[in-house]
Symmetry: D3
Subunit: 267 residues, 6 copies
């Protein structure tokens, strides 16, 4: 990397190291597929559900196939200062709208809507604890939840062909004190001069790339560093997603649930 | 009870038996106090937070002391058919408004608002899984979360005197096929001809009593049966609340978290 | 009752005495059925109307029969300090939502929705003057208005069988300075330590029971006293409802209208 | 008038004859001033209240004196087909907004806002029964209610000088089958090719004039006819307003209330 | 006119002189018909579009033919102090609602909705610069935009008969320092004691007439003066409308666009 | 570029050629700074205004300096099918929210908010005609409008130091039929497999980078091509921005306005 004395991360990670990432399966048992996705202390409830109808505009315009829509919200107690609910303020938070649109686009990039048939796949991401990277954790966990839900639909014989063509995942990168870092936690995000979100498929094609100088600017070199870090992170994350989806196929293993217990034990 | 061949409950409980009740502490780590409250498969995230100011109307009217306000919501994946978010429909669900007003009144009955000082105690209850009795589980868990939050405030020296004067808890009762039952799960609630919610303090005084013939009627005898069952349930629940609050005073015990793992293992 | 020197009521009623109750028929002449319901100085316009269609969700879910829905509102000049309209604040008052849901449940308990046929019975309750007990006056008057409207539908041949199976009425009770009182007016309600609303059918079965310690608590003895008072009140009120419904069957008698004149003459 | 065989009015009035106009005083006893204004079967509750503060924009811009604001609404049962409440549709009816702005302008034309002092005079007009001319009945009744309220403020010593400089009233006119008519009832209004609303002071100066060809056109001659009729109507109405305001100064006379009883007796 | 030393207008116009009026064709090229309408420094974008369906209520009530609806808005930078957008305040401005209802009525008076067929003609008026008389400029320009759009529909063979039966235009008049003035600009409007809006057809029939004493009053003589001025203005405006509609039939003449350049050159 | 037979653009541009770009100064004369920004047939009204106060949250949190906020909207007639206004649908379009947040961040990256002083710089972007690239045209034009407004503030002595540190501009790129293209118009955008928006400063540092596979994916090579094209475009655009800002310093030259006339002449 580009600095003699790299930035010392609070949790002692190397600049290109991810936080511990886990997917706790079956977290919202009434959902068709659900995981509690953790990137360190960032925890997002990701749920996938099927509705056996399509939005009005598809019927009206005669668009064939199905639809996938995503909703993102921060629970009021997910932040250190309590965050008002959208409904109390009467309208949805602009940032949440931006994020849920991103989640929807990312998932639609890897789901064949025609193969889904005339149904809607609902993705819900609710942040239980926010410590940086909630949008990338949401995309990553939403993919796992959707994959689990789709496998259930296939097992029920409702789908013949798996409409999910690839896995998609996402990770944040940024530059803090001239050091490019992977998977920023909140204090790093707050101090970053560049903020990147990389969304990629399992074969390392880009799905979406969002880089912002956070009301400052960044250079081409920094961009190259970010992309390298992002690609590196996605490789690892993809494998964790695969493991989680495979685990969900097994009868629930109580031992696997120790992960969850351990997380809460840390707080 | 009043029937020769009493109603056989799906989960083999006796008519006056509660479901397994647990309070998983620290579930929303950014909240001052939080528990995942479970009454069987009904799971509600209960969080308590402090805001160092009071509502505008209190300032305007010169009311001294603090305030306690509650918000209740069902997460979209808490029900078997996905439930639209309030913000998508543009207004809050009438049932949710009714419930959050009840939670607020119940907690205010046991919190001395003057002793709280010029601050607001926010109670948030979000249903993660709904299987009957979400409002009573919310009140019960909210009391535990609030007690934990208040103890933290006292430990920080922000409060001299504990403003929570008593514990409050709640339980549902109902009559199904002429059998009075305690702590109804969803299928029982759906079939009940009478639906009761009993909110009581730890010394078995009533805080709130809501009985509804569910668009039918009920008799004085049924009322007496309901009250008896409710009182019986509250006695047990109060002790579980005390244990949970005491446990939260200890350094977190990883073993205690196995409860949570076990719950999810069942699904 | 339970006290040597019982509470002296401002209007000199005995503790178990109702205020003068009247139902002024035809108050909103464009409604199918309407009454101005007065419990002393509490006056509520209650109207019943028929719409020859059912809500969208009934069609969608294929539910047979009809529907009954209630709306409750306080007119801005019904209180001593002018109350802002809901539309000015952009959302309905939480208390009003709670009350209109209660009115709807109470009426549906005595109306056979299947016998109503594929139509909606709209109940509107608008408070013209608030002096305590507006929700119980609303339920009581709504039943009279609905009964009148249904009789007109039957006279027009639109209904073969009367879908209203029983009369329903409601009354408030409370404990003021340790004295259990029936039918509280505003100053009594404000000072009450317990607040009860009893909704019963004409044969004295319970439809709904709501008791609240008003952010304090109440005992089982107080509960028993409240129920006794409530039952006592409902007996009288039921008879007044019957008279009002019978009177509405007669060609309008100008003398009967003197009641109204007398009321306004008192102010 | 301009036609050999003039239009025969359903209620046998001559073309330039007003419907019976009454102002039932004290209709909403908690308001400072209130009347039930009737123009035939059109009945509007008009209430005037004082709030001891001014709107935020006046404080912000440093405008001296007080403010007068009007709100208009049709009660759901005022029309033959039940009208949805504004709050159910989520926004106020465009027609209602237009009318309440007109009422506010009309009243402000005759109230000296500086003399009112730093307070807001709220005018509320709620239509109880609609049979044409609700906006003109509202203005006319609002003036009476405001005058009564202001006289009470003066009697309480809160105002030294009467801020209402003149009486204001309004009446509708229209052309039906080539016959210019005064004070149209609903069926006439529906069939009118021209629709006029004339707002004038007691000394017959214009305050507001609104004429509409109702999606057709009208001629200068028709305009002249309308103005003549309007002026004729206002003369009579002004005297009735004076009588009502004077009557409100007297201790309530029960006999005067017979008017109200008689109205309801007709339905 | 009625004064020895008439009011000297800031732009040296005579009391009965219009400001320069232009209609810049094709201003919003994606609209079927569009003009930038200028009355001096008041500039309004007027656009007409066709939607091949009718509103829900027409289908529901079985009303034959088409519909015409108008929307009016002031762009945030049209006023000297930036005006908040409606969507930021969460509801539409009352004044805008009043104006767009007037525009709709005015246009419907000259459009045969049955001849329009089952389609909706949308009129949009957005004020780019406000200097008095935006509502009358909107009506006047909307008529031109609608005429152009309708001629395109006829050229495309979608309409056999022109549904616009006549031209409609509008102009404001007012009394400033006792001088009746035509076509008031902002400073005149602000100082006017009477404010009139006259909407007339090309054959000088009235469509709508709105006169307001602006919270004061006006006399019959002033009314007569206003009508005279309005009629005078409409005659001239009608001819300019005809020219603009005729010009729109020609292949665009670049020279004609110099008008627009000249306007902006003045600022 | 990467293809033997490159994609033939409808308007005959080479793949790396911009559309004609113009900034018509003074388009909204009441704004402090305004331009009609055209990228070919995409036309956006960009206006900058100053409000001499800061948002509530800045006061509340004690943040020094000023603020810059942006609003973006598509006028209803900017698209080939009329687009409903936000206020008609009751909430702002998600896409518009996303875009206006981007515009705000882009401008804040080059404006020193502390140097702005305790005031808000409002940026309004309203699309008059949409033909692809409205968000990048908005950012580009907003920078010009803001620069003009700031120069006026400086000329008035309200600012000592220019708070705009650099120019910022933006351009879209995309891949259509394997050909990387600069500045896509609508039909190209619709067919693109990759969609990029590049926001850069005049010294070619990145401010924001947004790339989307449009519900598909893209490769690292395509990313490199996009960035190259974007940089190329920004170089040219920056010079045009400088010229426009310089021209606005001159007394208006009527000849310069011919550009506008010519544009409209093309339609």
């Amino acid at each position: 990397m580009n600095d003699a004395t790299p930035y010392q991360r609070e949790d002692n990670r190397t600049p290109d190291q991810l936080r511990p990432i886990t997917f706790q399966q079956g977290f919202a048992p009434h959902a068709l597929g659900s995981v509690l996705t953790s990137f360190g202390n960032t925890r997002v409830i990701c749920a996938a559900n099927i509705q056996e109808r399509v939005p009005g505009w598809m019927k009206y315009q005669g668009v064939p196939g199905g639809w996938l829509t995503a909703e993102y919200s921060m629970l009021p107690y997910s932040t250190l200062d309590r965050k008002d609910r959208d409904i109390s303020r009467g309208k949805q938070d602009g940032r949440s709208i931006e994020i849920q649109r991103l989640i929807g686009r990312a998932l639609r990039a890897v789901v064949d809507l025609k193969a889904l048939g005339p149904r809607t796949l609902w993705i819900d991401c609710d942040v239980l604890q926010a410590d940086g990277g909630t949008r990338t954790a949401s995309i990553t966990g939403a993919c796992v939840a959707a994959a689990i839900a789709i496998e259930k639909l296939m097992a029920e014989g409702k789908l013949k062909k798996n409409p999910m063509t690839k896995l998609v995942s996402a990770v944040s990168c940024g530059v803090v004190k001239d050091t490019p870092l992977l998977d920023l936690m909140y204090v790093e995000d707050r101090d970053a001069s560049v903020d990147f979100n990389v969304v990629m498929t399992e074969d390392l094609e880009f799905v979406e790339l969002q880089g912002s100088g956070e009301e400052a600017t960044f250079s081409g070199t920094q961009l190259t560093d970010m992309l390298e870090l992002g690609k590196h992170g996605v490789k690892t994350i993809t494998q964790l997603q695969r493991d989680a989806i495979a685990a969900a196929r097994q009868p629930t293993d109580p031992d696997a649930l120790d992960d969850l217990a351990k997380h809460f034990g840390k707080n």
